[in-house]
């Protein structure tokens, strides 16, 4: 099988939603500060702090998750999957046996997307059409379809996440963690 390259699109919806929510939180903070302090220097300091905290949070939940960590393109070959990341980040290579799940997901707002995991606590968001294609490629190489979610990978894993501390959960499901 020759290497096939699939281009992964960017989802602007979540980025804009987090931008809106973060801006709203910062505006609430600024309003609170404006009402609480009459001193101009405190108000200016409040604006600086609000802007700094808001920017950091938006980068972390909006830009990093939905842009930087969303692969730019995906190369499918006989060995496995190569995820080419954005802004020159090192590509991620996942051999077929190391694929944990290839999922088709529906967000709160009903938007459909996909994701691929090589670790139970880490995943890469991909387009739904690419996820479908990767599931087919996995079937072709491994003789079966990959698990479609964590529950199928290991029954009880999601329920345990809600009833255990993270260290206990990580220890119990160590075998599903990413291989170095």
């Amino acid at each position: 099988m020759e290497t096939k390259t699939l281009v992964n699109s960017i989802k602007y919806g979540p980025i804009m939603t987090w931008g809106f929510l973060t801006t709203l939180a910062v505006l609430i903070l600024e309003f609170w500060i404006f009402v609480d302090y009459r001193d101009t220097s405190f108000r200016i300091l409040g604006i600086i702090i609000g802007f700094a905290l808001g920017s950091i949070w938006f980068y972390y939940v909006g830009i990093k998750i939905h842009y930087l960590e969303r692969p730019k393109s995906i190369e499918v070959s006989d060995e496995g999957i190569k995820l080419n990341m954005r802004l020159g980040k090192r590509p991620v290579i996942i051999a077929w046996p190391d694929v944990r799940t290839i999922e088709l997901i529906t967000s709160f707002t009903g938007k459909q997307d996909g994701m691929i995991r090589n670790d139970i606590a880490w995943y890469y968001p991909i387009d739904r059409s690419i996820a479908l294609e990767l599931r087919g490629a996995y079937h072709q190489h491994m003789g079966k379809y990959p698990p479609k979610n964590l529950k199928e990978l290991c029954p009880g894993i999601v329920e345990d996440r809600l009833s255990m501390s993270s260290s206990q959960w990580n220890r119990k499901y160590e075998r599903f963690k990413k291989k170095n």
Binding site: L21, T22, L29, I33, D36, L45, L150, V158, L162, S165
Partner: protein
């Protein structure tokens, strides 16, 4: 249903344990710092170095609207601190080992915000500073845990929940930072 009840129970219990733990840890920090400062003063020739700590405690009680010369009030404070001490050891030990990650994060954010509101509206003087520091500590912890939660969450929905919890902590952190500056400025001006 059971999981939802468990999460709510954890949030409530964590709110309590965080308040207790943070108040105690801040008091202990103050006492250690004061003991250190008193030792330095004693070595420099001050004949009554403990006066420093008494002044600190008196201003704390006055800051909350109390009378530092009231014997009943002092006895009550000693009792409350003693009870906090006993409770926090057990509760925090359980909290850190067995409690769920998300309720812990949300509880820290809610507590940080509640304390920031209280510190900015009611408390003044050294008491206000103390509360602002506690609020800031909790809010920062809330931001930190939410960040960790987003990183390790198994799905989009959990990431979103941690993200929203982090936004609450973010507002409390911003106000907490300003609250600490404000309290310090107030103390310098003798308010």
């Amino acid at each position: 249903m059971i999981i939802a009840a468990l999460i709510i129970l954890n949030v409530v219990t964590n709110v309590f344990s965080f308040l207790v733990g943070m108040i105690l840890s801040t008091l202990v920090t103050f006492i250690v710092v004061e003991a250190f400062m008193s030792t330095i003063e004693y070595l420099q020739g001050d004949i009554d170095p403990t006066e420093n700590f008494s002044t600190l405690l008196s201003s704390f009680i006055s800051g909350q609207g109390g009378d530092p010369n009231d014997g009943y009030l002092s006895a009550a404070i000693d009792t409350v601190i003693g009870v906090f001490d006993i409770l926090c050891v057990g509760i925090l030990a359980v909290s850190l080992n067995a409690y769920l990650d998300f309720p812990k994060t949300l509880a820290a954010s809610i507590c940080g915000l509640a304390i920031a509101i209280y510190a900015s509206t009611v408390a003044s003087g050294l008491g206000g500073l103390l509360l602002s520091v506690i609020g800031l500590e909790l809010s920062l912890y809330g931001v930190w845990e939410a960040g960790k939660g987003i990183r390790g969450a198994p799905d989009f929905n959990t990431k979103t929940a941690y993200g929203l919890s982090g936004l609450v902590a973010l507002v409390a952190t911003g106000k907490g930072i300003l609250g600490v500056f404000d309290s310090l400025q107030g103390l310098n001006n003798g308010d």
